[in-house]
Amino acid sequence: MASRRRMLLKVIILGDSGVGKTSLMNQYVNRKFSNQYKATIGADFLTKEIQFEDRLFTLQIWDTAGQERFQSLGVAFYRGADCCVLVHDVNVMKSFESLSNWREEFLIQASPSDPENFPFVVLGNKIDVDGGNSRVVSEKKAKAWCASKGNIPYFETSAKEGFNVEAAFECIAKNALKNEPEEEMYIPDTIDVARERQQKSSGCEC
C-alpha cells in the first residue's frame, strides 16, 4: 500500500512578468491556452496528478507575480520547493538576462539544503511568435548559460501551441522527484528504471 501513497512535489515557476508562466502552467495542467489570463497577483498554484510506473505523485505548481517588487513575498511561497523552473521569452532579451537574478533570488529565499545541486529547469517560451523571426535569444545562447550553471536542462516551448510543454514538465517532475530525500522513496530501484525510461522519451538532459 505504501507505494500507492501520493507524494507531493512542489515546483516554483519564476521569470519576468509576461514571459508566459501562467500560460505554461495552464497549458500543462489544463491543456488550454487563453489570451485572457490576468496578470498574476500574489501567488497561485495548480496541481496535477502524475504517475511514474506504479507510483502516483501530486505535482503542485506555483505561479507567482513576476514583478521584482513582489519578490520579498517569495519566502513564504518558495519554502519546501523541489524544483524551480526559470522561464524567459525568447523574443525579449531582458527576460533572458533576468534569469541569473531569478536563480540567485530563489536560492537566497528558499535556502535549499544543497543549493549547488538544487534542480532548476529553464524554459525559453513563445517560440511560435512571428514564426521565430522576432527571436533574440538563440537556443545556443540559452544552452550555454544553462551549461554554465551546472547543466540545467533547457526546453524551448510554446504555451500557445502547446509545443514541448508536456516534455518540459515531465523533466521538471523528474527533477523534483530527484530532489526528494532518499528515505522517502519507496523501492528506489523502480524509480531509477522509470527515470531512465523518461530520459529517453523526453530528451531531458538531466
Partner: protein
C-alpha cells in the same frame, strides 16, 4: 417577588452551597437539540429555571418563555436557554422567531460579562455579553432565581465584579478594556422594533407602537445607533421587507448551505471546531445595519447647495456607505469621494478645475509621448516600464464589454494613463495591480484626464500597496493578523498552528481591493460582476466607520468560511487556493454588514490593532512636510 430586592452577593456562595442538594440539580438529558455541543452522557445540569423570558419587542403580548440552564461538562460551564415549544401564546411569533433567540449551550469561555438588573418595579433580568462583544437580549426571571443563577456561576467559573459597576460580573479576562466598555453596554428592551429607525418603514413601525414608552425607545435607538447593532430578529424581518433575497447571489446561497451542513461536518470530524466568538449566523443577535438602496439623482441633489457645493460631506459619506450610489451619478460623485474635486467646490469651479487639470494631464502625457525611438533605445527604464504596462493592459478585464475585442481604444487609454502616471509619480512607477485599480475608474469616468486624476487620488491612498519594499502590504497583513486575534482568537490560534499568521492568503484581496471577481484560472469566466465591485469600492472609499474597513471585510469573509477552513484543516497552500477561488463569490452587501458590525464591536481595540500609517491611512508625516505645505498655500 421577594427575591427582587437587591442583595449583597457576598453570601451567594453560601446560598448556592446550601441549595446544592436542592431541586435545582438534576441530570441533564436534553436530546431535543441536535446542534447542542453538549454530550448528554457527561453533562450535568447545575442550574435550571423555568419561565425565564425574553421580550423581543415592546408588545406585551410578544414574550418568549423558556428554560434557562447551566450545564457542566468536564470542567466547562455552559449556559442554554430553550424556548418552550408548542404553546405559542400569540400569533405574532413563529417557531422560527423563537429559534432565532435560542441559546444553544454557549460556553462560559465565550462569555465576557453578565449584567444584573434589579429594577425596583418589574422583573429582574440579566444581559449576557459574549467575548465577541455581542449580547443576548435581556433574560427576565419571571419566577425569580437570578441570585441563585449568579451564585451557581460563581461556583464553577471565575467571575469578578466590575470596579465600575457592582451589577456587572466579569467572566474571564476582566482586565481587558474592550470588555469593560462592552460589559457596561446596555442593550435596550426594544431590540427589534427600534432597529427599524433607519429604514423607510420606520413610519409604519411607529404607528404600530404604543406611544407610551417613546422616551425609552429613543434611548434604545441611541444605544443601537451607537453600536450599529441590529438583532438577528430584526435582520430576518428587514430582509423580508427589503426582499433581500433578490440580491442574493451564489455566495449567500453557498453560505447558507454551508451553515446547514455545518453540524454534520462537525460531527464527522474528530476534533470539534472551536466556536466563533463572533458567530453572526447562529446565536448572534447583532448585525450591521441593513443596506439601503443606492443614492439616486434626486436625493443627491438634496446634498448640494444651489451652486453645487456638498453641504455636509460626512452625511454624504454615511449615506453612500449604507447604499452606494446609482450608476448614473457615479461619474459626478466619485471625483468628490476620492478627493479629486473639493467637496465644497461649486459646479462652476469644478468645471474650471477640470479644464485646468486636463491641460496639466496633457503636459505630463506629452513628456513620454515625445520620446523618440532613438531616445527610447537609450532609455531602458522607460522601455521596460512601457512594455510591462503594455503586457498588463491587454490582460485587464478583457471580458468586460468596455474592454473586450481587438484594438479596443479603451485598452489604449488604460495604457496611456498608466504610462503617464508612471511619469507623474516616477518614484513609484508602474506596478502590477495598478491596471486593475484603474480599469473600473476609466469605465466610470470615460474621460482620459478625469480618470487619470481620479486614479492619482486613489493612489494617494493605495500607493503604498505598491511600494518597492512592500511595506504597505506588510503593515496591512500585520494589522489583519492582529484583528483576527482580537475578533476570532480560535481562528488566530489555528493560523498560528498552521504557520499562516502572515495572512498572505489575503494578499490579493488587499492589493487590489477585492477586484478579482472571477476565478483566475476559470475558462468560462462568468460575466465580470463590475457592478458589485463598483458598489464595494465606493463604500470603502467613504472611510465611514473606518479607513480600514477592508481589513474588517477580510475578517468577515474569513469568519464566513472558518468552519470550512478549520474543519478541512486547511494549511498554507490549501487555504491560499481556497481563498483565491472564493473571490468570485463574495456577497458584497452581507459581508459589508458583517464588517461594519465587527468594526464597531472592535472599537478602540480595533483601532489599536492597526499601526498608524497603515494604508489607506496617510503615512505618518513629519511636521516639516506640513510646514512646507503651508508655505505653498
Amino acid at each position: 417577588m421577594d427575591e427582587t430586592e437587591i442583595h449583597d452577593l457576598a453570601d451567594d456562595a453560601d446560598y448556592a452551597a446550601a441549595s446544592q442538594q436542592g431541586s435545582s440539580i438534576m441530570s441533564g438529558n436534553d436530546t431535543s437539540n441536535q446542534n447542542n455541543p453538549i454530550d448528554p452522557e457527561n453533562a450535568e445540569t447545575v442550574y435550571m429555571k423555568d419561565h425565564v423570558t425574553i421580550h423581543p419587542s415592546q408588545y406585551a403580548t410578544v414574550r418568549i418563555s423558556g428554560r434557562l440552564k447551566l450545564i457542566k461538562q468536564d470542567s466547562l460551564l455552559f449556559m442554554s436557554w430553550m424556548p418552550y415549544t408548542g404553546q405559542t401564546s400569540n400569533a405574532r411569533l413563529s417557531d422560527r422567531d423563537k429559534n432565532l433567540y435560542t441559546i444553544r449551550a454557549v460556553s462560559f469561555a465565550d462569555i465576557r460579562s453578565i449584567r444584573r438588573h434589579t429594577p425596583a418595579i418589574g422583573w429582574q433580568y440579566v444581559i449576557v455579553v459574549l467575548s465577541s462583544g455581542l449580547a443576548y437580549p435581556p433574560l427576565y426571571f419571571y419566577n425569580g432565581g437570578l441570585r441563585e443563577f449568579i451564585a451557581t456561576i460563581k461556583q464553577h467559573v471565575f467571575i469578578a465584579r466590575s470596579a465600575e459597576d457592582a451589577n456587572v460580573f466579569l467572566v474571564n479576562n476582566f482586565q481587558d478594556p474592550l470588555q469593560r466598555i462592552l460589559s457596561s453596554m446596555e442593550l435596550p428592551r426594544a431590540l427589534s422594533s427600534s432597529s427599524f429607525t433607519d429604514s423607510p418603514f420606520s413610519d409604519n413601525q411607529e404607528r404600530l407602537e404604543d406611544g407610551g414608552s417613546r422616551h425609552k425607545r429613543d434611548i434604545s435607538i441611541q444605544v443601537l445607533e451607537k453600536f450599529s447593532l441590529v438583532t438577528r430578529f430584526a435582520r430576518e424581518t428587514t430582509s423580508q421587507l427589503f426582499r433581500e433575497n433578490l440580491f442574493d447571489d451564489i455566495g449567500t446561497n453557498e453560505n447558507k448551505k454551508n451553515n446547514q451542513e455545518r453540524p454534520h461536518e462537525i460531527a464527522s470530524n474528530e476534533a470539534p471546531i472551536p466556536s466563533d466568538p463572533f458567530e453572526l449566523d447562529k446565536t448572534s443577535l447583532v448585525w450591521g445595519k441593513p443596506r439601503q438602496p443606492p443614492l439616486g439623482h434626486e436625493e443627491w441633489a438634496t446634498f448640494l447647495d444651489s451652486e453645487g457645493r456638498v453641504e455636509d460631506l460626512n452625511a454624504l459619506k454615511k449615506r453612500i456607505f449604507y447604499g452606494g450610489v446609482e450608476h448614473s451619478i457615479r461619474k459626478e460623485i466619485w471625483p468628490i469621494l476620492l478627493g479629486y474635486y473639493a467637496y465644497d467646490s461649486t459646479y462652476i469651479e469644478r468645471q474650471h478645475f477640470m479644464a485646468v487639470k486636463k491641460s496639466e494631464y496633457e503636459i505630463i502625457r506629452n513628456q513620454w509621448q515625445s520620446i523618440s525611438p532613438e531616445q527610447a533605445k537609450r532609455f531602458s527604464k522607460f522601455r521596460d516600464r512601457k512594455s510591462l504596462i503594455e503586457k498588463d493592459v491587454v490582460r485587464t478585464d478583457r471580458s468586460h464589454p468596455f474592454y473586450e475585442g481587438d484594438e479596443n481604444p479603451n485598452v489604449d487609454l488604460l495604457h496611456n494613463i498608466l504610462v503617464t502616471y508612471s511619469f507623474y509619480n516616477f518614484d513609484l512607477g508602474y506596478c502590477q495591480g495598478m491596471s486593475d485599480l484603474l480599469s473600473p475608474i476609466l469605465f466610470i469616468m470615460e474621460d482620459e484626464s478625469e480618470s487619470f486624476w481620479c486614479f492619482v487620488s486613489l493612489m494617494e491612498r493605495l500607493g503604498p500597496n505598491f511600494n518597492r519594499d512592500q511595506n504597505g502590504m506588510h503593515s496591512q497583513l500585520f494589522a489583519l493578523s492582529k484583528l483576527v486575534e482580537l475578533l476570532d482568537s480560535p481562528l488566530h490560534s489555528y493560523f498560528k498552528q498552521k504557520d499562516c499568521l502572515n495572512c498572505f492568503f489575503c494578499f490579493r484581496w488587499i492589493l487590489i481591493q477585492f477586484k478579482r471577481q472571477a476565478k483566475t484560472f476559470s475558462y468560462n469566466t462568468k460575466e465580470f460582476e463590475y457592478d458589485k465591485l463598483l458598489r464595494l469600492w465606493e463604500v470603502l472609499w467613504t472611510h465611514y466607520p473606518s479607513e480600514h474597513l477592508h481589513l474588517y471585510m477580510c475578517i468577515a469573509i474569513l469568519k464566513r468560511n472558518r468552519a470550512k477552513i478549520m474543519g478541512e484543516k486547511m494549511g498554507f497552500d490549501t487555504l491560499l487556493q481556497y481563498i483565491n477561488e472564493l473571490s468570485g463569490q463574495i456577497e458584497v452587501d452581507g459581508v459589508l454588514r458583517e464588517a461594519e458590525a465587527l468594526c464597531v464591536c472592535a472599537g478602540e481595540n480595533g483601532v489599536a490593532a492597526i499601526p498608524p500609517g497603515t494604508p489607506p491611512s496617510l503615512p505618518v508625516e513629519d511636521e516639516s512636510i506640513y510646514q512646507h505645505d503651508d508655505e505653498v498655500l
